[in-house]
Subunit: 481 residues, 2 copies
């Protein structure tokens, strides 16, 4: 037990230093390792297996909604990046430039894609002829590069993994519908699979994607009361299509500009999982994406029959589609308990000689350490039930945390005093729509606009939290990662 305590104690407590607690988990749960490539990291097997599960589920959701995967080059010639003015202004300051191929200087420099709108536009132009070809509903799973100054594992790194959806439609309505559909897919994925409740809404003008007509985002509240943007969906109108001269022949054989969207989620989701569900013992993984859903820890494993029974249990669980594993290493059971708590495995099963005699085993959940004695014949049913329960409990807990840290405020003073008293969180406050007020809120209270609550149309009596003029929007404000 000394060893076990030592390992667990190595994590800084969340209350003491949240940022250090976070990086401790990233390292000690073996999600990542640093490299000599500044701002980039190795995603280790346990971290990458979480990403593989995220990918598999999301990819299925994309395909169900009619999207196909493609793969674009990772390089963008400078002249191509420059075709859409807002886009290049937004991205040029943070791209990595390739200037040499071998020992030869390139005639035109190439940037490593920070995002691929320009490449998709070029491709769309090449393959689009008539309305019969539309819609194009494409996605790709790749990495992108943005030359960030300060970086943190999963949350902000110079290279990160993501998916980027890019679609092209004959009508504005259809493209808007796609933008919102994918925002819904993202929200549903976060809620159902990651047990993370999110707020959905449009970004303000100052905060939208470079080149977009409108940007929508899902925002989640982390354990420390900070907001994390977990996914974005952009409606481009026909702006890029005009810049790239992408046209199609409609039913009357007239040339028209199509309408475009893009949407993305990244490995940042792993950061969101850590900071939404983790505790001072380490990770707490949502069952849907946990690389190991149930770990079997044999007790007195050298006694005859114990390991056999453990592996038999494991096979039974695997056949039922549960990701199960036996840890038969020489470490003590106590060490193993702590290790798999640290790694956030949702369910632990303990089995020893006495359990075997009773045809039972012990099932312990990571989330609340609830302990159950279970008949071996009921193991599949029990584990399935526990995994479902755990997801629901995790979601409820995160939702309560968010609700406890969401404050309705009607003045700048109230924002400041509420945050001081209750800690960081979402502030819901009305806004007139003026960028100057948006900036003033940020400057005077520390919270920036996260997104606009689209479900609320302010009544006439509602006024801007900053200037007191008639309110246009109810806005979620917060400190952002």
């Amino acid at each position: 037990m000394a060893d076990m305590n030592k390992m667990v104690n190595e994590i800084t407590s969340m209350d003491e230093d949240f940022a250090k607690w976070y990086t401790d988990i990233c390292k000690k749960a073996q999600l990542i390792e640093y490299t000599s490539v500044k701002g980039c990291m190795v995603i280790r097997p346990y971290g990458y297996a979480i990403w593989e599960n995220i990918q598999r589920i999301l990819d299925g959701m994309f395909k169900e909604t009619g999207h196909e995967n493609v793969c674009m080059p990772m390089f963008i010639p400078e002249s191509l990046l420059q075709k859409e003015k807002d886009h290049v202004e937004g991205f040029a300051p943070e791209v990595a430039w390739v200037t040499y191929g071998g020992s030869e200087k390139l005639e035109e420099r190439l940037c490593v894609r920070p995002t691929s709108e320009t490449l998709f536009c070029e491709h769309f132009k090449n393959i689009l002829q008539s309305y019969r070809d539309l819609p194009f509903k494409y996605n790709q799973w790749v990495s992108v590069v943005r030359w960030e100054k300060t970086t943190r594992p999963f949350l902000r790194s110079r290279e990160f993994l993501w998916q980027e959806g890019h679609t092209l439609h004959a009508t504005r309505e259809e493209a808007v519908e796609e933008t919102l559909q994918m925002l819904d897919v993202y929200a549903r994925f976060c809620s159902e699979c990651l047990a993370i409740p999110v707020v959905k809404g449009r970004k303000t003008e100052s905060d939208k994607f470079a080149g977009a007509e409108a940007t929508y985002a899902i925002e989640a509240l982390m354990h420390d009361g900070k907001a994390l943007q977990a996914g974005t969906s952009h409606f481009f109108g026909d702006g890029f299509c005009r810049a790239f001269d992408i046209q199609f022949s409609d039913k009357d054989n007239k040339r028209q500009f199509p309408f475009q969207t893009s949407w993305g989620m990244t490995t940042r989701l792993i950061g969101a999982i850590i900071m939404t569900h983790g505790d001072d013992n380490g990770l707490v993984l949502p069952p849907a994406v946990a690389p190991i859903q149930a770990v079997i820890v044999p007790v007195q494993q050298k006694k005859e029959g114990v390991l056999d029974k453990a592996f038999e249990l494991c096979d039974t669980l695997k056949k039922a589609g549960i990701r199960a594993k036996v840890d038969d290493t020489d470490n003590s059971p106590g060490w193993k308990f702590a290790e798999y708590e640290m790694k956030g495995v949702p369910v632990r099963i303990e089995i020893g000689p006495r359990d075997i005699q009773n045809n039972s085993c012990v099932v312990v959940t990571r989330l609340n350490r609830e302990k159950n004695f279970v008949a071996i014949s009921d193991i599949v049913e029990t584990v399935e039930q526990k995994l479902a329960e755990v997801r629901d409990q995790m979601y409820q807990k995160a939702l309560e945390n968010r609700e406890n840290h969401t404050y309705n405020c009607s003045s700048l003073e109230e924002i400041v005093s509420t945050l001081e008293e209750k800690g960081d969180g979402f502030v819901k406050a009305y806004w007139c729509g003026d960028e100057a007020c948006e900036d003033a809120v940020k400057e005077k209270t520390g919270v920036g606009s996260r997104c606009i609550d689209g479900n609320v149309t302010p009544t006439d009596d509602k006024v801007c939290v900053c200037c007191g003029k008639k309110a246009e929007h109810l806005v979620y404000w917060g400190k952002a990662y």
Copy 2:
């Protein structure tokens, strides 16, 4: 039918111009599209779906043999690339260099990974402590960049997709075993899933990977008699580990250098599929990786009940795990037949009003256009059987082609005259092991060494095809892609 012939006629015939036939298929079957990024391409949905199937199967084989996926950065600092002397000499001339991040010049340039041995070495050094940690058996699915002068879709491009396995072992024997095991996995995958017979063997010294102690390859013979290297597996000894000072404590607490391997397969496999199985009507896809395994073409689809029956059939097939699709577009059946032949769909099912009356449908195989009238109740069984048969027939056909174009030669003159008479192919000839002879064979006959036949130990009477001295090896020679 005019339309249909027009489309098919657009492919150059294989005999007329093999290279043009190849690129025609790549474009017209919508596998790829060119871009303004020189030497790079877009992999379109139909091409990418083939790659996804390859990935899924190979990834399963890697995991079954105990490998885990990770993800390394795409950049390698110049100083890291330079740590192993042979390695940097081999790769530096063909890497892309990043020199700017935004508007700032980097202190040290970064290359875009051409392969990731150096990154894995750095990582291994960071995480390896004792023999208990070994082996590390890692893989990653990423793209890599090599600044090629002349490029061709899938076969040679500046960026390509691949997997790279990287493993570290406590003993030389275990690492050698891993190297050969993965070569076997590759050969088995090509044979079973791609219906491509391959020759396995060690590369000569002049042809091995930069930094390796030994390189093994699988080589396939294309339809035009040229050899294609379809996968490689490298044994590094402890060379990289010494260069990077990677050590571990053994059971006696002594510091030891571990032994290393790496192995890779790429999107080039899609090129191999095209050039092994394709014909003048287009692609012929191996069932295991075909995005659509059975396409259902309704005949007189506007007649009542036809489309309903077609979709019912499709559902039945999908439920049985067969990748099926109904084409209910307005194109004529003849157009559709030609389109799915071009796209290499292994099985076509035709169903019209008369078939429905007879409770039957027509099943046609792409490979040999064999036509079967099948009871609708037998459709799953029939399609499964046809898919299995087609794979076997494709393999046999490819094997016969290889055997018809594999020549045993005992003099340089015989090589030249045989190739002239019978066309390009594999030449099996003995070799003394001297690099000068290897070069001379190439210069005088046009064929280079592909790999060494490890199953044959030359008897004393066997002599080098070039110098006449005692033979060390039986070598497969050929013209290479």
